[in-house]
């Protein structure tokens, strides 16, 4: 086989694999226990996939520029707590204000990465700590129930389209939007350029600092939407309840969705399948008949396996 054909084959395997992995999982479950694929099963999977998907989309955008955002799940948790606190008195306006605030937090992350040139991994680990404390202090380490105006947000969960809650469809819409941005806008192409080869991008006059600030701001904004989906589903928010553990599933969903951890490669639409797959793992484990204790173990093996299968390898590249 000549080289171009080989490359094409690799590329198509890479594009299709998230969907194939998801279908394989679906098939396994349907053979073992088809009861999980009814309308109820679909609504459960898509509901638990929604916050994972939104966090993963922000993460995928950041991974695409070659950075990582460890703070975005903490951003969404803080967002859900602020939303639950502000909703009774301020109504739907609070949602916009909080989304704006979280976008700003993301932009600050991006600005520090861009201008002080610190590794995003370490910086966002630091912001993660600060945001965790902020969430604990804001909530007083208690569960905040939305006492009034509850239906303003819970309708995003109760309203279902093809058995999937609206929160999931928001995720899908955001995925399509981000795909469009990456594929057809100068901004998106600049992001991918920074991720593929930052030095080259700088020499080509790509505004790399602006690109980083915007990308981290996007991650903050999408994290805010994830926060909305948490409150919509639970009707409450707390630092230990629903949505308090989104960081690793979010990264896993982005990776299983074919996003490269070294940058320059992502397809937000595939991240949808990545998130569905990650949300499906607990159900698949039950369908196979293993206990819920096995969930972490399977997650771990799964992340390694999927990335080992889909990662692009070139002979001389240094893998860090």
């Amino acid at each position: 086989m000549n080289l171009p054909a080989k490359l094409r084959e690799m590329a198509s395997w890479h594009t299709m694999s998230p969907l194939l992995v998801f279908l394989a999982m679906l098939l396994t479950v349907s053979v073992l226990n088809s009861a999980y694929l009814g309308p109820l099963g679909i609504s459960i999977v898509t509901a638990s996939a929604a916050p994972i998907l939104l966090v993963a989309l922000g993460q995928a955008m950041v991974l695409n520029i070659g950075s990582i955002d460890l703070s975005n799940a903490a951003i969404s948790l803080l967002g859900s707590i602020l939303l639950a606190l502000a909703l009774p008195s301020l109504g739907i306006g609070s949602l916009l204000a909080i989304l704006l605030l979280l976008t700003l937090i993301g932009a600050i992350n991006g600005a520090i990465v861009a201008y002080t040139q610190v590794p995003s991994f370490a910086l966002t680990l630091g912001t993660l700590g600060i945001l965790q404390t902020a969430a604990l202090v804001a909530s007083g380490a208690e569960t905040i129930y939305v006492s009034e105006n509850r239906e303003l947000v819970t309708m995003f969960y109760t309203y279902k389209l093809a058995n999937a809650p609206l929160t999931f469809w928001i995720g899908v819409a955001v995925a399509v939007l981000y795909w469009f941005v990456l594929r057809f806008t100068v901004l998106g192409q600049n992001m991918t350029a920074v991720g593929k080869n930052e030095t080259g991008a700088i020499f080509s006059a790509v505004p790399n600092r602006l690109v980083k600030i915007v990308t981290f701001a996007i991650s903050g904004f999408t994290g805010g939407l994830a926060g909305l989906s948490i409150v919509a589903q639970a009707g409450s928010a707390s630092t230990s309840g629903l949505g308090s553990n989104l960081l690793l599933p979010g990264i896993a969903a982005a990776l299983v969705g074919g996003t490269s951890i070294s940058g320059g490669l992502t397809n937000p639409i595939n991240v949808v399948f990545g998130a569905l797959t990650v949300a499906f793992v607990p159900i698949a484990i039950q369908a196979i008949g293993a206990g819920a204790e096995a969930q972490s173990l399977v997650y771990g093996i799964f992340i390694i396996l999927v990335v080992a299968l889909t990662t692009a390898r070139t002979r001389d590249a240094v893998i860090k």
């Binding site: 070659g66 950075s67 990582i68 520090i112 990465v113 201008y115 002080t116 040139q117 610190v118 590794p119 995003s120 991994f121 370490a122 910086l123 680990l125 630091g126 912001t127 993660l128 700590g129 600060i130 945001l131 965790q132 404390t133 902020a134 604990l136 202090v137 380490a141 930052e198 030095t199 700088i202 690793l248 990264i251 896993a252 990776l255 951890i261 070294s262 940058g263 204790e293 096995a294 969930q295 972490s296 173990l297 399977v298 997650y299 771990g300 093996i301 799964f302 992340i303 390694i304 990335v307 080992a308 990662t311 390898r313 001389d316 240094v318 893998i319 860090k320």
Partner: protein, 323 residues
């Protein structure tokens, strides 16, 4: 001048000075801080993160990252306590409990290393996976049974018992740290780790057994995480898969504050050790000063940010690529 300042900040002098200032400040805020009991307490708290840090530092110096410590700790801690005298099972394997738990950690580490070096999966992803696998093993071992607590008084007391005025936990950790520093300074492996971290391609073309070294370093890191898991279980007196919770948050900032570059090839074991001391003293002092423990992760996070910015500041340039 800027150059000079950055050298001072990165060298141990800046760190030792910061630690001295903290000790002074906290002693004024609460006289109990400077008591012998509290200093022994600080050394007790330093031991577990210090042991993990020796392995993690080697991995970071090599230019990779290791997130797996908390998971491996859970797996090894649960293995150890279930095979030692405990309230759940009647088995007491004695020394073999140690062998089994340390062996499990070594195995997890070696598997991580092989997947990273041979299958060429980025270390961030593999160790994220190993974290979950280890946690999963811990959770499965824990099962739905009752809490396994140590029944052997001598074992349960060992970590806090004093030898020459210092707690045994700390002696163990200090031994590991000194051994780690010697390995980094005087062995082929130690020099090789720095060479790989500086420039892997050159290290490879100079004939260094890069893959073998990577596998060995991850194996060693797994072994040390397992040891930390056993020690933490012994300190707590009962087993839990979450025994390592929060350690990542101490260990990585400590390495960075100690001047270990996350890009690899730069830093040292002793400076990382000072980093752990700084964080633990800070935490201990804040608690004694009456500050809500909820603020701990925020304070650690803020310090991490200040430290990395201070280290990176003199080296900014338009063309520098920071990932």
């Amino acid at each position: 001048m800027q150059d000079h300042l950055s050298k001072i900040w990165k060298g141990p002098i800046g760190l030792i000075a910061s630690i001295a200032v903290l000790i002074l400040l906290f002693s004024v805020l609460n006289p109990r801080f400077a008591s012998v009991e509290n200093l022994q307490n600080v050394l007790f708290q330093v031991s577990v993160p210090l042991i993990i840090l020796v392995g993690t530092s080697m991995v970071i110096l090599m230019g990779s990252i290791d997130l797996s410590a908390q998971g491996v700790m859970g797996a090894a801690g649960m293995t150890w306590i279930l095979l030692s005298p405990n309230t759940r099972l009647e088995i007491d394997l004695g020394i073999w409990a140690w062998v089994a738990a340390l062996g499990l950690g070594l195995l997890l580490g070696l598997a991580t290393g092989v997947i990273y070096a041979k299958l060429r999966v980025p270390s961030f992803v593999v160790t994220l996976g190993t974290w979950y696998v280890g946690l999963g093993i811990g959770i499965i071992l824990y099962g739905n049974g009752m809490l396994p607590s140590l029944t052997d008084e001598a074992l349960a007391r060992w970590p806090t018992r004093l030898t020459l005025g210092l707690p045994n936990s700390f002696w163990l950790a200090a031994f590991v740290a000194v051994a780690g520093a010697l390995v980094m300074q005087f062995t082929h492996l130690g020099r090789g780790i720095l060479a790989i971290g500086n420039n892997e391609l050159i290290a490879r073309s100079s004939g260094l057994p890069v893959s073998l070294m990577k596998v060995s370093v991850f194996g060693l890191a797994g072994l040390l995480s397992a040891l930390a898991g056993i020690l933490a279980t012994m300190q707590l007196g009962s087993g839990s898969p979450d025994i390592g919770n929060g350690q990542l948050f101490t260990v990585i900032p400590a390495a960075v504050i100690g001047g270990t570059a996350l890009s690899g090839g730069e830093g040292g074991m002793m400076r990382s050790t000072l980093g752990v001391f700084l964080l633990i003293i800070l935490n201990n002092g804040l608690v004694l000063a009456g500050i809500n423990p909820d603020y701990q992760s925020g304070v650690f996070g803020a310090i991490l940010i200040v430290a990395i910015v201070a280290v990176a500041w003199p080296e900014r340039s338009r063309l520098k690529v920071a990932k």
